[in-house]
Every structure is written in structure tokens, then in C-alpha cells.
């Protein structure tokens, strides 16, 4: 279990992270979201043992980042933000070197490098110098490095930045596979991809944990769903009277389309399906209907709202332990 307890990190007089607390268990893939400078990278560096907290404690399976730093690092894999790699080595040489300094035997290091290179689709570049790799490929090499010693905590700083869709698929599959036995902390700005990958989302704002929720809660909240219909043989006043009982007059949006049909939409309450009632009412009014649908924004759009602070935390808390 990962326990982050009241962790604060200051750089001089600036507080980058302020009393952040949460817990995670193997299988959790936690997305750290927030604007630039919110404290995501600082939290990841603390979890990777690169920095130490000014106050508070981070524990992984009982090991403390401060007191048991070496043992903590043995079971932690880390991908920094910029994918720093040794440019003068080939991909397989670099990964073998990293495996060895992480304590793998010669045979195991070779086997892990071979397996992970295959898993992340790096066979074609394994003999190429790192200096000649694209940014996305460097990210994949960095993720292989982080996974080499089968860590119990995987810390990935923006792994999906600037990667193409195929690379992103390889990465998300590898991260998902690693999460079967490990806790994954991942940050980034690619909300759609992170949304699909992660099981929990935590939003940092100015160093504070401002919101958090689970993927299930985000998906089932219905928050942001919109009911849309397209009807004809009616007037805007009649349509407004019709929709008001469902949504409230101020929330109804009416548009007259060029072909004479009315497009009517309004937000719907979470968990309440009104489509049957709407349909029945339209039939009763004798209008023609050509479209009735309930649109739900993608997970990325929901996360964007959560990050922007437009949506309330659907579960969890604004601040404090989950």
C-alpha cells in the first residue's frame, strides 16, 4: 500500500505541495491532474525518492522514503518528465545497463530487456543510438526503464506527451499490465488518454489536492449529459413550455435549423432517464420527431471540467484523505 500522509514540500519560501494525503493499493492507476505548476511533478519526484518532503511521510509497503530510501527505490520505477537518457548508447545497451544497476542479474536483465522491448514495440530501434530517436520513442524507452525491475510503485511523469496513437497504445497497454501488481502514479495533460487508462483522478491546484474521484464515479455521475431532440410543426414558445418541466426554462437551448426543424437541448440530471417521458409528450403534442438522443461528453471533457474546477468532486473530497 502507498500512503502519502500530510506531505508538504517547500522550495525556499514557495510551497509547491501543501499537506497532500492519499492512499493507494496495487491495481490503482492514479492520474495526477492540474495546470502547469500545480505540484504534480513535485509530488511524483517525492514518490520516486528524488526529493524528500519538507513535512509529512510517504510510505510504500511500510518503507519510508527518508529512512529506507534505498529499499524504497528498489521497488519504485520512475519516468521523469523529459525522458533523460544517455544519448551515446543504443536502446538495448542502455536498458541492459539500467537493469544491471537496478540489481538484476545478467541473465534476468537480458531477458527483461528483450521482453519489454517486444512488449513496447521497440524491436526496430533496439540497436539504434538513443540520440537518433524521436521524442515518443524516447518516452517508450523511459517507460521500459521504469518497468525493468518489476516495481511495486510506478511513477510516470507525463508518459503520453507527444506520442503518436500507436505509441500511446503500446504505452497504455504496458502501464495497464504493470498495474496488475503495482500502484501507478501518472501525470499528464492528455486527459482523454489518461481518463481511459486510470482508475482514479486527483486534481492538484496550487499545491493543494483540490478534487479527486474514481473512474466509476466519473462515468456514472451523468454530470454534463445533455438531452437533444429535433422536432418540427411547432413554435419556440411551445417548445419552451414543453421542455421547462424537464429542465427549467433558463437551461433550455433552442435553435431553428436551416431546414425548418427545431433543435432543442437541455442538461439532464444524473441518473434520471427522461427519454420515455419526452417521447410520450412529443407524441401527445402531435409533433414530428426525427432525433432524440442523450449525449454524454467523453471522459476527457469530464476531466477537463474537474481540472478547471467547474464540476464538483463527484466522490472523495476537496482536500484530505480519500
Amino acid at each position: 500500500m502507498l500512503q502519502v500522509i500530510q506531505v508538504t514540500r517547500c522550495f525556499g519560501s514557495r510551497t509547491a505541495l501543501n499537506e497532500v494525503s492519499f492512499e493507494a493499493v496495487p491495481g490503482d492507476i492514479i492520474a495526477l491532474l492540474g495546470h502547469n505548476g500545480a505540484g504534480k511533478t513535485t509530488l511524483l519526484r517525492l514518490a520516486a525518492c528524488y526529493l524528500q518532503p519538507t513535512a509529512g511521510t510517504i510510505r510504500l509497503h511500510g518503507l519510508d522514503t527518508f529512512r529506507d530510501s534505498l529499499d524504497f527505490r528498489r521497488i519504485t520505477g520512475y519516468l521523469p518528465e523529459r525522458s533523460p537518457l544517455y544519448d551515446d548508447m543504443t536502446v538495448s545497451e542502455y536498458l541492459y545497463f539500467r537493469g544491471r544497476i537496478k540489481g538484476l542479474s545478467t541473465i534476468k536483465a537480458r531477458r527483461r530487456v528483450r521482453d519489454l522491448i517486444s512488449q513496447l514495440g521497440l524491436e526496430d530501434v533496439s540497436r539504434r543510438l538513443i540520440s537518433g530517436l524521436s521524442f515518443g520513442t524516447r518516452r517508450r524507452v523511459g517507460v521500459v526503464d521504469a518497468l525493468l525491475h518489476e516495481p511495486k510503485l510506478l511513477v510516470l511523469d507525463d508518459p503520453l506527451a507527444n506520442v503518436d496513437p500507436i505509441e500511446a497504445r503500446h504505452l497504455t497497454e504496458a502501464i495497464g499490465a504493470a498495474a496488475r501488481h503495482a500502484i501507478v502514479l501518472v501525470s499528464g495533460h492528455t486527459l482523454e488518454a489518461l481518463g481511459a487508462l486510470c482508475t482514479r483522478y486527483m486534481v492538484l491546484r496550487d499545491g493543494l489536492l483540490s478534487a479527486q474521484c474514481s473512474r466509476h464515479a466519473l462515468e456514472t455521475s451523468g454530470q454534463g449529459s445533455t438531452l437533444e431532440i429535433e422536432v418540427t410543426h411547432t413554435s419556440d414558445a411551445a417548445l419552451r413550455r414543453f421542455a421547462t418541466p424537464f429542465a427549467g426554462a433558463e437551461k433550455v437551448s433552442l435553435d431553428l435549423l436551416p431546414d425548418g426543424w427545431w433543435h432543442v437541448s437541455w442538461p439532464v440530471t444524473a441518473g434520471v432517464d427522461v427519454r420515455d417521458r419526452v417521447m410520450a409528450e412529443i407524441v401527445r403534442q402531435g409533433w414530428s420527431l426525427r432525433s432524440l438522443r442523450c449525449t454524454t461528453p467523453g471522459i476527457g471533457a469530464r476531466l477537463a471540467k474537474l481540472v478547471a474546477g467547474d464540476a464538483p468532486p463527484v466522490d472523495g473530497t476537496r482536500k484530505g484523505l480519500s
Binding site: Q52, L70, P80, P84, Y86, D88, M89, R98
Partner: protein, 246 residues
């Protein structure tokens, strides 16, 4: 292979596959060669044997060589960010510093060994020099020069740990080594009746003494102690990094 060896191997390989490593080595050899010939010319008819002049000319440029090599092994890692991946790997401070030290010693050791050729060439080319060069002196001088190189390299590593940028690291190394050098020069100049010559600067004098077969225990102990103590400080600094960042 231990973790220190692995890190040393990686960095040595990095140095020997880069043009900058060879440029530094070539620059050092050019400077040492120029100094050697210049001192020989000035010493013409003097009492200093050729291997003593060689040892002095090599010892003179070792601090610069140490500054240029160490600023690569650590400060470059900090600049490129690989230091972050290294520090988050499960390696001890001792392994990291010893690995870096081993790698940083490669170029100085190569430089010293290659510079011996200038003396051997002299023996070959100038028949009357043959009797003036002693093998024992050369070997002793090599030992002292290696110890000096290790002391200056350790100081360079310390500077690289303290500085964030390569240039600052190089400058700091020169300052840390140069201040005692300068103090010594000032002292020699100030002492009445002292013979003010390069010969009397301790690092150069020690190398020259060893090259002439005069073996004293103090200089090797001094340089080994400097290397050992400074490396110990480096290890403690890396370990204390955890405490400092708290």
C-alpha cells in the same frame, strides 16, 4: 560487476566514444608537450634531467585536465537530467561516486601514459640523453602523477557536485586547486632568499623529485589523502542530499 564498476564502465565508454574526450586529451598532450620542450630549452646546460622536466610539464596541466573531465561526468548529467534517473535508481552514494571517479580518471591516466612517449622519443632521438633518463625515476614519477591526478579528479568531482553547470564546475575545480597553488606561489615569492622557480611549487617539485629518483613518503601520502578525504566528502554530500532536501 559491481554497480560502481557499471557506472564507471558506462561513463568511460561515454568519454571514449565522444569527440570532446579526445579533444581534451589532445589539448592536454599538446600543452604538456609544449611545456616540456620549452622547459628543456630553458634548462639547456642546466642540472634538471629530462624525466624531471617531463614530470613537471605533465603535473602542471593535470588540474586543468581534471577540471575538464570531471565537469562532464557529473555536471553534464545534471544538465541533461540523467542525474535524476541515476539518483532514483537503487544505488548507494558510494557506488555512484566511485563509479564516476573511475570514469573521470580515464582521460588523465591515458594522458599521463601517452605523455611518457615524449620522454621515450627524446631518448631515441638524442643519443647523449640516454644516460640521463632512469627507468626507476620514470616509474616513480608515474606513480606520483597518478596520485596527483586522483587528488585533482576527486576535487573536480566535489566541484561538479556543488555546481549545477558544467562551466561553473570547471571553474570551481580550478579555484579549489588553484587557491593552494597560488598561496604556495605567494609564500615562495614572499620568503626572503627563497628560490622562486616552478621547481619549488609542491606538486611540480614532488613530480620532479620522484622523476629524479628521490623518493619521499610524504607526497604520495598527501595526494592519496586528498583523494580519499575529498571522495569521502563527495559520498557524504550525496547521502546528505536526502537530508538537505527535507
Amino acid at each position: 560487476m559491481s554497480v560502481a564498476h557499471l557506472i564507471g564502465w558506462r561513463d568511460t565508454r561515454g568519454m571514449l566514444t565522444s569527440a570532446s574526450g579526445y579533444a581534451v586529451l589532445a589539448g592536454f598532450l599538446a600543452l604538456a608537450g609544449w611545456t616540456f620542450t620549452e622547459l628543456l630549452r630553458r634548462n639547456e646546460g642546466g642540472f634538471a634531467p629530462a624525466q624531471a622536466v617531463w614530470a613537471m610539464s605533465v603535473a602542471m596541466w593535470l588540474p586543468l585536465l581534471a577540471a575538464l573531465t570531471t565537469m562532464r561526468v557529473l555536471a553534464e548529467e545534471r544538465q541533461t537530467g540523467t542525474f535524476e534517473t541515476l539518483m532514483t535508481a537503487p544505488i548507494t552514494a558510494r557506488d555512484m561516486i566511485l563509479g564516476k571517479f573511475t570514469a573521470a580518471m580515464t582521460i588523465p591516466v591515458l594522458g599521463i601514459l601517452l605523455s611518457v612517449f615524449s620522454v621515450l622519443l627524446l631518448i631515441k632521438m638524442v643519443p647523449h640523453m640516454r644516460g640521463a633518463v632512469s627507468t626507476a625515476g620514470l616509474i616513480l614519477a608515474l606513480g606520483v602523477l597518478f596520485l596527483q591526478a586522483s587528488a585533482w579528479t576527486a576535487v573536480g568531482l566535489l566541484a561538479a557536485l556543488l555546481a549545477r553547470q558544467q562551466a561553473v564546475s570547471g571553474l570551481l575545480t580550478m579555484v579549489l586547486i588553484g587557491v593552494p597553488y597560488g598561496a604556495c606561489a605567494g609564500w615562495i615569492a614572499w620568503v626572503p632568499h627563497a628560490r622562486v622557480s616552478l621547481w619549488h611549487w609542491p606538486p611540480l617539485g614532488d613530480a620532479a623529485d620522484a622523476a629524479t629518483g628521490f623518493f619521499a613518503l610524504a607526497p604520495p601520502i598527501l595526494y592519496a589523502s586528498i583523494a580519499g578525504c575529498v571522495l569521502f566528502v563527495c559520498i557524504r554530500l550525496v547521502e546528505a542530499r536526502n537530508i538537505r532536501t527535507r
